[in-house]
Amino acid sequence: MSRDPRFDELLDGEALGAERERLRRAHELLVQAGPPPELPPGLADARQLDGSPRLPRRRLQRRATLLLAAALAVLGVFFAGYAVGHHGGAGGAAGLALKGTAATPHAHATLEVLPETAGNVPMKLTVAGLPKLPAHTYYDVYLVRKGEYYLSCGTFVTAAGGRPLTVTLNAPYRLQHGDWWVITRHAPSTRGRGPVVLRPA
């Protein structure tokens, strides 16, 4: 949680007496509870089961994931080959679209992975709609590999108003098929990684 909103700021003195105390209690519970977690895709899909006769089975999910990964790998090889051939061996750039999570519904970004140079993988992140953060809080670009947070690729902050911003990052490691990225918000009070604010669209 970046900060606790002040109760008086939220209500502007609109509620009085017992009603105000009821709302204050709800406010305190919200602060105490902290943010709900961002659901992983497997569980989020199950939330959209309206009318479906089945819940997801992990074995089927894993099989589908493997098939999807294989298909993406084939497509990746095809497009990489096409890009290399098209650019005369200079290599092409690959882009990943990111969308905001529940906490940042209007945020969006593209992460452009540029051709590797001297063992480094430069990346260009263009992001918009992310709010300005309080002092000592920042956004963190995380590489996700095999479903696990793997490494931070860099951090950044934004100006007020969520104006578009371009950030240059540099990953000192080789990328693998299936790698993807999320952006988290990290506050000094956060233990471990903060909540995800942007994820693949």
Binding site: D4, L11, L29, A33, K132, G162, R191, P195
Partner: protein, 202 residues
């Protein structure tokens, strides 16, 4: 775990209530009773209402998203299997669901660490004692469940106001809404949460 949900056992069977499917207004306790009668639609509704609470509980206890995801699936499998033992006169459904989900999470912890006693720490408040951890865990459970009851537009401004780090003015700018509308929705959301949580967490 290879198979979290035994699909053939989840197949719905006809019941007397088959003509009246559960609605968004159906109380949790009624849904749970219907799940005990193998009402598939009731189970899916209950799942949507509680999945974030269950996943949050598992994540706080296990500290790993993959294990928490598995534990969440196991918790709902346990809920499906045990729902017929729920008795509305013995307490609210939220407490019953919390107990079943927590047991599933503890089982997951034990499976990963043979010999562990199951009293795994609360990862987000390791400095607190067991009683405080339990209370914190249940508060998060109930509040996250209550958030699911808000209108989406109210939930959106409440979540932004509390957890995005933005001021009310910034939320208004972010959503393209007048500041007064944001304040009204925040207040309406808080009032709804107060009603939903009244009595249980006093």
């Amino acid at each position: 775990m290879e198979l979290a949900l035994d699909v053939p056992r989840l197949r719905a069977v006809p019941s007397e209530d088959a003509a009246a499917p559960p609605s968004l207004d159906t109380p949790d306790g009624d849904l749970l009773v219907r799940v005990g009668q193998r009402d598939r639609a009731a189970f899916e509704l209950l799942y949507r209402r509680y999945v974030r609470s269950v996943f949050g509980l598992a994540l706080r206890r296990l500290g790993d998203r993959h294990r928490a995801e598995d534990a969440t699936q196991e918790a709902f499998t346990a809920i499906w299997r045990a729902a017929s033992t729920y008795r509305p006169d013995r307490g609210p459904a939220a407490g019953w669901l919390y107990a079943v989900a927590r047991n599933a999470v503890v089982d997951r912890f034990r499976a990963a660490r043979p010999g562990a006693d199951g009293e795994l720490p609360e990862l987000v408040s390791a400095e607190a004692g067991p009683a405080e951890q339990a209370e914190q865990s249940y508060v998060s459970w109930r509040v996250h469940r209550a958030l699911e009851e808000l209108q989406p537009r109210e939930r959106e401004v409440v979540e932004l106001a509390y957890w995005s780090g933005m001021s009310q003015s910034e939320v208004a700018e972010q959503l393209g809404l007048p500041l007064g509308t944001v304040k009204t929705r925040t207040r309406t959301g808080l009032a709804r949460l107060a009603s939903l949580l009244e009595g249980e967490l006093a």
